[in-house]
Amino acid sequence: MDRYARGDDASFPDVYDAVAPSLHAYLLRQTRDRARADDLLQQTLLQMHRYRGSYVATYPVLPWAFAIARRLYIDEFRRRKTDALHSARGVLEGDRLASTVPEDEVSTREVAHRLEAELARIPETQRAAFELVKIGGLSHDEAAQVLGTTVGAVKLRTFRAYAAVRAALGRPFDDAYLEERGHER
């Protein structure tokens, strides 16, 4: 990144290889939509490109990249939130995909579904910290920078989210639970 900030355009592919895989995985997880994740990745890297001159040598790049990606995702999500047509289409596509899943993948998919449901249930601050640390692979310090808070707050939020997820995944697949979550078997 340092070479790139100094004007060495040929080093951009190195920057891409260093940050894009984890960024893309994060965005894919947030959007659950490959095309949207691709678009957000491009926009994130475009922002980094535009402000490459402000990069200070030796400063960690990944928290910066994650913070930009997160902000762009939140903005994009807010724009899309008003698009009811998009949401309806997403549900229909999700149902169609679910109906074509082989039987042996159902259990895994249900666990994933429950994880998603629990993550959606916990407060946004805890979810964001959990996703950056446990899924994005950032350190507590880096996640604190991305979220604009203290390391202690990130540790606490991650712990609470982790405890909630662990408690939820420890529960049996009973009908009452599924009914509570609004799923049909």
Binding site: F12, D39, L41, L46, R50
Partner: protein
Amino acid sequence: MNAESSEQLRARIILRIGRERAPTRAELAAQRRLVVVGLLVAPLVVFLGAGGVRAAPRPDRLVLATTLGSAVLAIGAALLGLDRGRSMLGPPRLRLVLVAVITPFLLFAWRVLASSRHSGMMAASPERPGVRCLFLSGALVLAPLLGLLWVRRHSDPVHPRASAAALGAAAGAGAWVFVDAWCPVSYVPHLLLGHVLPLVLTIVASACFGHRALMLRAQVSDARDASRIT
């Protein structure tokens, strides 16, 4: 629509980035140097235009103490509010908010403390409510605040409002130093209206409106461009 492979995505993004010229570190530093010179010169011109230092009836020691003390506090506010520390994302929100909240208190307290040590310097001056200081503060702070917001434009993806408030505090504290040197009145109601109020207004206005300049936002053309290519 066929999903784009990782290699295709990589090639597409590298191509897209290559099409756009972005300033390098050296180019950006040169731009910022110009802005910083402007930040120093513009308030100086306003200050000298308003008459420069007006000591009487203050003793020189008091002028020196209040001005140097407030200058130290302003530099501290600027360092704490503008310095990014060891991260591209700047200091935590709490530090920025503290800078914005505490700076007016400290500057006010210093002026009162320094003036109260000299007899007659806190005397009532109801004929000078502080309106001229209020307008002078506004004139002094405008260019530095706009300059700082321009330098930091679209660069804060985490807490633009807190950053804007801290920038306002830094710019306002800089203006306070000039007003300190210019205004001999230390009557508390005068200080509150003519010195503290403009600083607080600067911080609030910067937080309310300046954050739009600092916040990172995808340009509509970027999203359209990305969607069209996919």
